[in-house]
Structures are given as C-alpha cells and as structure tokens.
Symmetry: C2
Subunit: 378 residues, 2 copies
Amino acid sequence: MKLFSRRDFSATMGKGITATALLGGTSLACANSTKQDKKKLGIALVGLGSYSTYQLAPSLQDTEHCYLAGIVTGTPEKEKVWQDKYDIPSKNIYNYENFDTIAKNDAIDIVYVVLPNSMHADFSIRAAGAGKHVICEKPMAISVEECDAIIKACKEAGVKLSVGYRMQSDPYTKEVKKYVAEKTFGDVHFVSSDAGYISRGNPNQWRLNKKLSGGGALMNMGVYSIQTSIYGCGSNPSSVSAQEFSTRPEYFKETDETITAQFEFPTGAVAHMMTSHNANGNRLKSHCSKGWFELEPAHSYGPISGRTSNGNVISFPHKRQQALQMDDFAKHILLGTPNVAPGEMGKRDMIIVEAIYRSIAEGGKKQMLDLGNMGIVP
Amino acid sequence: MKLFSRRDFSATMGKGITATALLGGTSLACANSTKQDKKKLGIALVGLGSYSTYQLAPSLQDTEHCYLAGIVTGTPEKEKVWQDKYDIPSKNIYNYENFDTIAKNDAIDIVYVVLPNSMHADFSIRAAGAGKHVICEKPMAISVEECDAIIKACKEAGVKLSVGYRMQSDPYTKEVKKYVAEKTFGDVHFVSSDAGYISRGNPNQWRLNKKLSGGGALMNMGVYSIQTSIYGCGSNPSSVSAQEFSTRPEYFKETDETITAQFEFPTGAVAHMMTSHNANGNRLKSHCSKGWFELEPAHSYGPISGRTSNGNVISFPHKRQQALQMDDFAKHILLGTPNVAPGEMGKRDMIIVEAIYRSIAEGGKKQMLDLGNMGIVP
C-alpha cells in the first residue's frame, strides 16, 4: 500500500476547500502550509534536447506558478552547463538510472517528459510511480495502449497528468474555440489544416527512427493538424480516411513523409488536413455558414496570426506558449482550474493517429471513430 | 464534302502569313479583306442564363478583338430584351431549333456554349458543324467520351475550340504559372486548393439535377480546384484518390455536396483539394522548397488577391477575366497566338473528374493517371 504523500495532497488540493476540509491531521496541515509558502511548483525536465533547451527552460523563466527545479539527463556533460545556467542544486539533478529516486525529492512537484516519443510512456509511468505530477510531451506515446498505461499509472498514483499541447493554452486557440462555441460565424462547414516543415537535417535524428519516434510527420506535426481540425470544428470526428505520399524514400527510410487525412464530424462539418516532413504548412481555416476564421501561422512558437471574415485581425500580446501551458498545469494542480490538456486528449489523438495509419494500410478506407467527447475541453 | 468556307479560312489564318500565301483566289482575298476590315470577331452566346447575363455580355463590352454579335435562347421573351440592350440585329437571334442555320450567318464567327453541362457536347458539335469556332463553358462536358466527340467535331470542321477557363487568361494565374516555371520559390512540394460555395437557393436549379449537370460540386467548382492544383504544381497529376461527404442529402438529392481529393505529381509534388456546394473555399497555396505563393481569392470573378513568402503582394489592374478570355481566343483565331484553354485541357480535366468519381466509388482507392502533358499550356 502506498503512503499518503504530499503528492496525494497536491492531487486532491485541486478539488478545492472541500477536499481539504475532508482531510485532516497535522501532516496535511503542514504540507498545506509548505505549499502555500512555496507558491511555485518545481518542475524537472526529463531530456535536455533542443525543445527543453530552447523552449521549455527559457519559458520557465517566465512562469508564475512553477519554476525549473531540476533536470534529468542521459548526457553527463549537460549537467554542469544547466546547473550553472539555471542555478539548479546538485540534489535536483538526475540521470536515467537514478531517476526513480526523484520520489524522495520534495523540491520536484512536476516531471516534464521531453524524451523521444517511444520513451514517453516509460518515463511518465516512472514519474507517476515516484509520486510526481506528469507533463508528457506530444505525441503522448506511440500507441493507444501506452496512453492507457500512462493514464492508469497517474490515476493509481493520484497525480495529475497533462500532455504538452502548448496550443491549448494559447490565446489564439482559445479565441477560435470561442468562435466555434458561440457560433460567431455560424456553423462550421469545412476546416482545412496544415502542419509541416521540410526536414533536411541529420538523417540519424530520432524523428526519422521509427523505433524512437513511432512514426514520422503524423506523429510529430500531424498531431497539430488533428488538434486544429478538432478545435476548428468544436467536436471529435466520427470518421477518418487517409493517404500517405513518399517522394524522398532515401531520406525518410522508416517514417512517413507526407500524410493527408479527411474527417467527418457529427456536427456535419468536414475537414481535411495535411502533415509533412517534406512541405511547410502552418494553418487552420474554418469555413462557416456566415463567414470564416483562420490562423496562419497557427501552431508555431509565435507570434500566431489570425484573421476573420469580419475584417478583424486576431491579435494578442505574444507570450511564450510553453510558459502559459506550464502555468495552466500548475494552476490546475494548485487551484483546481481545468486541465486544458488532459491525458484523455492525448489518448484521443493517438486513437485518431492509429486510425489514420490503419486507413493508409487499407488503401484509404474510411475508419469509423467512436470518441464521444473524449478529450474535449470547453 | 464540306465547302471551303470563311470558317476554314479563319481557322488557317491563325497560322500567319504563310497560310495566306499558300491560299489564293478572289474569294479568299475578299474574306481576308473582310476580316481585316472587321477586326473584331462576332460571338453568339448560346444560353442566356445568369453567367451570360451578368458576366459574358458585360465582358463583351470590354473586348478588343470580339463583340456580342448574336444570341441563341430557348426563352422567346429574352430575345427582345437582349436585342434592345445590346443592339443585336434580328437576323443574329436564334432559338435551339433553328440554331443550325447559324451556319449561313457570316456575322457569327464564334459560338459560346453557356448551357447546362449535359448540353455542352450537343451544341458544341452543332456549332462546329455550322463552321463556327467554339467556346465551350466549363466543365467541357459530362464525360470524357463527350469531350472526345467535341474535339473530333471541331477538328473535322477545321474550327478552333476552347473551354471557358477564364482563369487561364487571368494575370494572377499567369503570374503563379511563371513562379512555377521559373522556380521562383524553388520546387513545389505541396499544393492546397479549395473551391466551393454554400448552395442554399432554388432546389430545382439545374446544377442540382444530375441529368443536366452531370454531377455536383466537382463538376462545377471542382474543376477550378483541379486547374489550380495543376498550375500550382506545373504538371499533370500521376494519381488521384478522393472522398465524398454528404450532410444535406435532402437538398443535394442527386449531386455531390463536398468532395476532397489528393494528387501525386511526377515532379514529386503532392496536392489536396476540396470542392463543395456546402462550404466556401477560394484558394490556391503552393508550398515550395524555398518559400510559398498563394492566391486567395483564387478564382472568383475578381479582383483576385495574392501573396508570396517574399512579402510581396501580387497585384494587377482588375479586368474582367471573361473579356481577357474571349480576347485570348479571338487572338488565337486572328493572330495565331496560343490557345490558352484548348479542348485537350477540358478533356484532361474530365479524365480527372471521372477518376475522382471512380475513386469515390471504390472507397477512396488511388487511381493512376497517364496524362503526359495533355492540356498543359506553358
């Protein structure tokens, strides 16, 4: 039987004063006090690749409710560099072998798994086992089965789980979600979304290694297109069909280069998406019964740019999406605000990813989806 | 055996002075003289629906090399209205029954068939049989077989044939064709094109009647998406797959509502298109190796609007596309300039339309295409 830890407390604290009132005893009161004094939650980044280096760590300098408390790296020479740059205590530095001892470290509240896709499940489950809240970078894992295992582990450990869907915390995304919910431009009839870039770099990068990535463009950029299709329409799709295109097989030896997919929605909307490691694309456009709205760029690190058929330019002050994202998760833990990117959202997207690969394997045959409202956050 | 008519002369005249020199005799010299004095070719519009009324007739007031000389209508009450408005002599007014006697009317050089799609072949062939040059509105016909019959009839009659592809005469289209040919933004990797509108009008309109239209969104707007996909890439596709979506079957009883399709090109480019009678769409975007270019709107009556990754706005003085189109055809006849929208282009697009319908019937199965350079005009 697991001990009741401060993690369990944090996990329940989100439910508000009722949970606190229901619980009792000196140790809880003490934990509560510690938490309130501390205010900011400590995040440990697992995997110090370019996304951690150039996006997450700098973003953590801008967060209000969390901070960079620790690192977990398989590259010893990175330890000193990060320690010096971000003033990280030696006790908060881990490698992949001693990672599980992080359970004893009260300075770490959240573990952010930023490893290659195929390692997401293992480290997310280990983080949950260590009693830490988990942010799992997108795609959540490389199979629905793995997503289920992560969700189960977090549930059993009583920790919170979110997926690294930074766009869900972005004000532009929130704005278009509002248009859809409020029918600002009427009903959505058709959504077009593109997400891609031209990969010309190191042919040995992990994204091109199927064992590490689980797939190519679809696993990487395609998840953005899936997400934009869904929030551009306001519901989960009821079917998907898909096609794969290969023009540089000598470079994309193991992973998909370009994929197109088409969605039907129970609302009557239709969408098509393109994702590629061989073509640029960064767009959401929703054609509605009384107008349209679009974001282009739609999901790069920003600033995002948007327009509507009213002639309006969608514009918000630029903030690092990752800072907004990590603060949203910290507020979910600390204050009980909604989890804007829950594990179910990552699992839902992986169900769609698997259906897309299945459609391709079956020559483009339409795959029915039974998702209900899984992963839909208003 | 057909008599050598002034139509034969006009048809050869395009080949330049050599053709004139090879020919001889008083009647030819006279025809030549008449033509040169006249300068402008006389066009008869067949079918006085909204496109003739609001686009072609007004455009013919702006043309330099042709003019509105006659009309052919099945609605007697329109005769007087048009005669008065455009000062059309009674002898140049026909109905569908006496249409073939137009052969004797030297004032009519070109017959422009603007009837419902299923009537294009019949009237184009009759126009050719009457010795008149033919403009056949898009889509060229409702089957490849009909396109072949039109091409054969025009060839046998020695008359010129073009399809009503106004965008082929539009300066924005020419500009993006130049980008592709000159690789201004490098190689084209991916093209996205949308063409649609929301049909809410009279449920008895001919476009919703399969016998008259031959099909729905694909036959109507889809042809624009096919065209933009091709000139956005610079070559004919080598394969196509497609999907059909139906959300308002009570309105779209017989014809397709929304279709998506995906193309592969021998250049390595990939494209996807959307066409709909239930969603707006009016765009071409080409993602290239070194940048991008886009037109949005891409194929409405104008003004068209375009942008490139260089930060440039594509901008030309607005002229009626139909005026440019009819002048291009008149110049082709009079001066031997290229036919920018030859019958082979219309036939090629109908081959693609048929392949799209076939793919849909086969559950989205990829259809291989063997088009060579059919219909490609530099």
